[in-house]
Amino acid sequence: MKKRLSWAQPEALARELGQATSQLLRGAQRLHAMPESELAIATTPKDEVYAEDMVRLYHYRPLVAKAQTTPILIVYALVGRYQMIDLEPERSFVRKLLGLGHDVYMVDWGQPSRAQRWLGIDDYVCGYLDHCVDVVCSRAGVDRINLLGICQGGVFSLCYSALFAHKVQNLVLSVTPIDFHGDKADPQKGAGYMNLWTRALSSDDVDRLIDAYGWIPGAMVGLSFMLMNPAGNAAKYSTELPRILGDDKHLLNFLHMERWLSDRPNHPGEVTRQWFKDLYQDNKLVRGEFTLDGRPVLLSEVRMPVLNIFAKGDLPVPNACTRGMAAHFGSTDYSELGVPGGHIGTFVGKKAQDILAPAISHWLGARG
């Protein structure tokens, strides 16, 4: 026991403090000298091929000869920026797909301003996303594309596939909430805070919230995620950062992730209203009551092959909200894949990275 508690001796404490101080000084110098080029994220070469309002469609330049003909359109969430899937060259989901010969497009939802506060999910799915799909089809000379949605982008992709099934060859959903009340029967401590918070509010509370703010500021979105693990997030800066200051590789990993985390877009008000009331509160998606542009979004219309990927340690989207959804879909070709790590770790974690892109590529390859 004495050995275990050696850190509590005054000399050991003084030594640790001294080491930490000199590490902090060296780290401060390193941070000061760090050029912007080292801090840049999402550096995989790409071209902007379409723009509408604040939305951009990017086409990634191929890294190898194209082996797959049907392009993949990746749809990220509105609560973060698309750069997460291309954080750094060694941890880039996009690069891995490109390396496997896929033709990859990406929707960047941009930074909505106050002017976009009235945008609803209808506008995103039946407007921007549909227009992007048309552009991808036109450029690739195909009738259908592979749609890969992530988190909230997965919900958008799912709605799109139900409404515009004739334009989607295969649907890949990743860390996507589908049954928003799934956590009720299978609560998981520390997970699903958004479900709990939203359900504790009344429908009128949500209306008042949206009417008062107009949108949900990006900083508030970021704060809500931080509050899911407040002490852990505080410790990240007080213990983890000083520890890695002398290790360039880990320091850059940390800084790249921080850059992504701090770039939270504002969330349009009407999208938030639908997201909270129709989905989190009323669970309309699996009940077949969700409508977009006046049309019902019926999951039974999703008849194309579906690959549903979940993160085993997902906290924002509990597994109970995303797993075991086959019965809701019209598709007879439904598969699930669990990857190690958390919600974001699915795309940046080492273990998940080794599994994810090859598994998706293999699944798509088998379906043409």
Partner: protein, 214 residues
């Protein structure tokens, strides 16, 4: 037996006191007043507005409302923290156990930094225990409600400020954005085919006016 003039004086005094109380409720009861009292408003509000003091008076009222809302918001956060703090003894127990008696497959911290990391993960675990019940969800929802009230009071202030500076207000701008958005939505729906179609691939990129394809 009292003097007649003394009775009259007392009656006038009482009448004035009642008038004062009706115009400035709370003043006689020595309670703090937080809003422009109804009686004063009825008597002098119109003339104050006519003199151009309307926006200033609304800003003053909004400032008071903002202060009250912020106080309630602080109380909501405190209630949430209290809920977590009630679990403090449990956290200490868990911490001591983590340091002294690590479980199977876990290692006792070997440095102060590791102790801090351990404490952070235990603190979050304890907070999850506190917040995952009905009380926790209600406390968090209350924080959101009070944050909404603060924002509403800020909006009232900014509306009055914009009015005083002859600027378009937040609500007016929102209304303009809404009209633009509704028009754009109508355009989009008008451009979309009524029946789901087999895509005309070649024309797809340029079907909607106002969009840029590169």
């Amino acid at each position: 037996m009292s003097e007649p003039h003394s009775d009259a004086f007392s009656a006038v005094n009482q009448g004035l006191a009642q008038l004062w109380a009706s115009m400035w409720p709370g003043a006689l009861a020595a309670k703090p007043t937080t809003a422009w009292p109804a009686g004063m408003e009825a008597a002098f509000g119109g003339v104050a507005d006519a003199l151009g003091l309307g926006p200033s008076r609304r800003m003053a009222a909004a400032t008071l409302a903002l202060g009250e809302a912020q106080t309630r918001q602080n109380a909501a956060w405190l209630a949430l923290l209290q809920l977590v703090a009630q679990r403090w003894p449990e956290l200490v127990q868990r911490g001591l156990r983590g340091v002294w008696m690590p479980g199977e497959g876990t290692v006792a911290p070997g440095s102060m930094a590791e102790v801090l990391s351990l404490w952070a993960s235990l603190a979050d675990e304890t907070a999850h225990d506190a917040l995952h019940g009905r009380k926790g969800a209600e406390a968090m929802a209350n924080c959101i409600r009070e944050a909404t009230a603060v924002q509403t009071a800020r909006n009232q202030f900014s509306e009055a400020l914009c009015e005083s500076l002859n600027l378009p207000s937040r609500a007016e701008m929102d209304q303009a954005y809404l009209e633009i958005q509704l028009l754009k939505r109508q355009l989009r729906r008008a451009a979309a085919p009524v029946v789901p179609r087999q895509p005309a691939v070649k024309q797809a990129a340029s079907k909607t006016p106002g969009r840029r394809s590169k």
